[in-house]
Amino acid sequence: MSTRMSKPNASTILSEESCTGIDHWLTKYPSNQKQSAVMGALMVVQEANGGWLTTELMDAVADYLEMPPIAVYEVATFYSMYELKPVGKHKLCVCTNVSCMLRGSEDIVAHLEKELGIKFGETTSDKKFTLKEVECLGACGGAPMMQIGREYHENLTPEKMDEILAKLD
């Protein structure tokens, strides 16, 4: 094949639905500040890609929002809700910040690790669960807590944990 020198083109990588989703976020910001929509855009693209972001997708978002790719990488690596590797069907985000730690998040983590046989950052072999350590999610009142999908689960105990896991298909 001949050598090719060209930039990634958002329109060939992003699906039409993704573009519509990003456009929805763009309406919320001034037209000369497209980069403001980067977090929403990454969320849209991540959901369309089965829960994780590839470098090509981040480049495409950068192209779409007219910002440097490195700025998109910075956002995607900073926030814990973006995944840069494939994840399981259910992402268990356990908070280990101060409040949760004082209320026993370490026990929760140990229990989950034992039950699922995986450590932080890993996915079960059946691709069902991914265990992730996150920073404070702002629910200290119900510490220890975790997030699964869009749901918060608070005042966790190992027993309660088993119940929650059993309900997830």
Partner: protein, 793 residues
């Protein structure tokens, strides 16, 4: 003016400054890592904490604006405690590997740790380890040493303008770098090495080769562009170990281009010529200076006696010093030949008599950043003149509009307001369109001939928009780049550019190359002698000399097959000459093939001399190292040649005398780009048939020295010069299967060669890009011409 008190002493200063600016201006030491005067304030290292009256906590001096009556203590107990604490935090994750670190001995962290830190560490936990990133052939990394000052990140965003470095990750997991594996593409990237306050980013070619305290620092001037950047050369045992910028706000600020920084590798290239050599009966043999010079002069005299003194000519490199160039023309004029030139990459000389004293930039370098609108004609400015591009980039950040007429849709590191991208054959028509659009808008009194010239032109929408953009603001400039100078209709383009400049009240400027200004002043021209004095009978220009053929040549610092407009013709013509004297720093098979004497000359760091930059600034320098072997400075060789030819006035003892003599001849003459032009009667535009060759002399192929810097030759900029670049549309038209064919047969002027295909969407539909100055495609010859493509079998 306000008064503030620092450490008990009063200082008068202006409002709007930060504390660190005031302390720096008054030589009060405040430690810092993230603050840099040319970058935005990040205030993230916290090293510059000082005590401020009525502030409950210590304040960062870099981000604290001054106020009238403010009282500051930089060395109070509170300030020192804060600095000591910050230092302790910074050292938590920093490895204590100074003995094996390249930065050891010249490290800001090391120095400040000694000055402001504790003598022992209390930290016993594990340290962070960060994997190194491959940033390409110029910058070596040791990212575990990084203290996250973000100077490199801010540099890449704010100065190089290509955000490549970033800070991906969060908190302790932050890792400075480009995130993906990639080579840094900025042509200013080497400055990150200078900016890095620790040993995280160091110079790759220099790595592990010397210690800071073993080297001496000596100043010189860079030869590769018209900026004339001030350099500090770091020397150990008579060898240039590395190059750093020397601050000069009027010229290079605190930056230098990678070309100026890493070209020193060429000084020690393996094909360096270190002794005089002569060709006897087709065999090259080393000899001493006496024999070589006698042989050269006797044989050259023989050629003159046989064919007359107008049968010989001299060509000088535009990167030679003013002294060398002046003596070259003095020798030639002394033996009665006016065939002298340095403009090897030019082909249209028809209006040379009306040209200005030298190709003046039209303004000071600093003025470029003040301009409001700029039209650039035929220049890959970012790679051609990296620091002028940087000035223009600053202007665009202030809101200036930059518009382009270029053959390739080059990637710029700033916003381009409007552009016309077409092969050079269409430039004349497009410039005429812009000129006409301006003429219609303005009622400036111009010679009637201008109106006649443009009578038939009706500008299109884009040309009108270009004209409109050029009307922005007060200060405007029109810049003629390297590709405009090399255009077969340079005179016409110059005329139109001058008309556009006049109509837009803009400064007309030339971007030139190397020491071209010096070469013009020194009289290395067939039509003007030193100081720009017209000669009675004009000699032959470079193109004619290298195509028609002369009986004898003197070449100074050149590889004409790579340095001229038609390398193939130059090579063949030189081969036919009776006698060729090559003053060269290198011994190449091409030179061995056509030359009869090779005289080894010193390169830019090895000789004293002077360069004149685009704004007409004379900058003299001394040699910083001794040349190797039998190598001598070219001005001394030319002085002896002058004596051996029995020409008067070659009794110089130092290069200063040569410079002063020329300086006297130039006197107070100044360049004037506004001089009257002869307006031609009619526009002659080439009728473009088929695909046109588009070319460019790549950034790392401009002269013999740069071509031998192995680090620069491994950069993306150097590697992309292979093959024939064409866009998908052209490829399809030529019947190439975009994903099938890897090579294509390229035919130009009857010569056919096979080149790899590079699909490149920057190339317009009416041309293909084949880089100039490359051995691989040398046979294709001229920089311009029709190209035929056919599938390679």
């Amino acid at each position: 003016m306000v008064t503030i008190e620092i450490d008990g002493k009063s200082y008068e200063t202006e409002l709007g400054k930060t504390l660190i600016q005031v302390t720096d201006a008054n030589s009060i030491d405040i430690p810092r890592f993230c603050y840099h005067k040319k970058l935005s304030v990040a205030a993230n290292c916290r090293m510059c904490l000082v005590e401020v009256e009525r502030a409950p906590k210590p304040m960062p001096a870099c981000a604290t604006p001054i106020m009238d009556g403010m009282k500051v203590w930089t060395r109070s107990t509170k300030a020192l405690a804060a600095q000591k604490a910050v230092m302790e935090f910074l050292l938590i994750n920093h490895p204590l590997d100074c003995p094996i670190c390249d930065q050891g001995g010249e490290c800001e962290l090391q120095d400040i740790a000694v000055g402001y830190g504790k003598d022992t560490s209390r930290y016993q936990e594990g340290k962070r380890v960060v994997f190194d990133k491959n940033l390409g052939p110029l910058i070596a990394t040791d990212m575990t040493r990084c203290i996250h000052c973000t100077r490199c990140v801010r540099f890449s965003q704010e100065i190089s303008g290509i955000p490549e470095m970033g800070a991906p990750g969060r908190g302790e997991h932050t890792q400075i770098g480009p995130y993906i594996e990639k080579n840094i593409t900025s042509e200013l990237s080497g400055n990150m090495v200078d900016l890095c306050p620790v040993g995280a980013l160091t110079s790759k070619p220099f790595r592990f080769s010397a210690r800071a305290w073993e080297m001496q620092q000596r100043g010189t001037i860079a030869p590769h562009d018209v900026v004339g950047s001030n350099l500090s050369m770091h020397i150990r045992r008579n060898q240039v170990m590395r190059v750093a910028p020397c601050e000069n706000e009027a010229i290079n600020e605190v930056w230098i281009s990678d070309r100026d920084r890493f070209s020193y590798e060429g000084l020690t290239a393996s094909d360096r010529l270190t002794a005089p050599m002569i060709k006897k009966d087709g065999v090259w043999q080393e000899t001493d200076w006496e024999h070589a010079l006698a042989f050269a002069v006797d044989s050259f005299k023989g050629v003159i006696n046989a064919h007359g003194n107008s049968a010989v000519g001299a060509l000088g490199s535009p990167t030679a010093t003013v002294e060398e160039l002046y003596l070259l023309q003095k020798v030639m004029r002394g033996i009665g030949s006016q065939n002298i030139d340095h403009r090897l990459r030019q082909v249209d000389f028809s209006d040379q008599n009306e040209a200005s004293l030298f190709p003046y930039l039209g303004q000071a370098i600093t003025d470029l950043e003040q301009c409001d609108a700029a039209l650039i004609i035929g220049s890959h400015l970012r790679k051609e003149q990296p620091l002028l591009n940087h000035r223009l980039r600053k202007a665009t950040l202030r809101g200036a509009k930059v518009i382009l007429v270029n053959p390739i849709d080059y990637e710029f590191n700033f916003q381009i307001a409007k552009k016309i991208i077409t092969s050079p054959t269409a430039w004349v028509d497009n410039l005429a369109g812009i000129a006409k659009a301006l003429l219609e808008n303005k009622g400036i009194l111009l010679p009637a001939s201008v109106k006649t010239l443009l009578a038939e032109i009706s500008p299109n929408e884009n040309q009108r928009a270009m004209a409109q953009s050029l009307g922005t603001g007060e200060k405007r400039t029109v810049l003629l780049g390297h590709l405009a100078t090399a255009h077969p209709q340079f005179a016409m383009i110059r005329t139109l550019a001058a008309i556009i400049a006049k109509l837009a009240s803009a400064n007309l400027g030339y971007l030139g190359e190397g020491n071209t200004s010096g070469a013009w002043l020194a009289g290395v021209l067939p039509h003007r002698s030193a100081g720009g004095v017209p000669v009675e009978t004009e000699g032959l220009d470079a193109y004619t000399m290298l195509t028609q053929g002369m009986k004898g040549y003197v070449l100074l610092g050149l590889e004409p097959e790579l340095d001229s407009w038609d390398g193939a013709a130059a090579k063949a013509t030189l081969k036919k000459a009776d006698f060729v004297i090559s003053l060269s720093a290198y011994r190449t098979s091409a030179i061995e093939n056509y030359a009869d004497v090779m005289l080894p000359i010193a390169l830019f760091a090895e000789t004293s001399g002077t360069y004149v930059n685009g704004e007409g600034r004379w900058q003299s320098f001394n040699g910083v190292v001794n040349p190797p072997g039998e190598v001598r400075p070219a001005w001394k060789i030319l002085r002896v040649l002058g004596n051996l030819f029995n020409i008067d006035g070659f009794d110089y003892i130092s290069s200063d005398q040569v410079r002063d003599e020329l300086h006297q001849q130039v006197g107070d003459k100044t360049a004037n780009n506004r001089a009257a032009w002869q307006i031609p009667n009619a526009l002659t535009s080439e009728s473009a048939k088929g695909l046109q060759r588009i070319t460019e002399i790549p950034i790392y192929s401009v002269d013999a020295l740069v071509r031998r810097s192995s680090a620069l030759q491994r950069t993306i900029d150097a590697k992309m010069t292979d093959g024939v670049h064409l866009n998908t549309h052209v490829a399809t038209q030529a019947g190439l299967e975009v994903n099938g064919n890897t090579h294509v047969q390229v035919k130009q002027n009857g010569i056919q060669i096979t080149l790899p295909i590079v699909l490149d969407d920057r190339v317009p539909n009416d041309g293909v890009l084949i880089y100039a100055g490359q051995i691989k495609n040398l046979e294709l010859g001229a920089w311009h011409g029709q190209i035929e493509l056919s599938a390679a079998t």
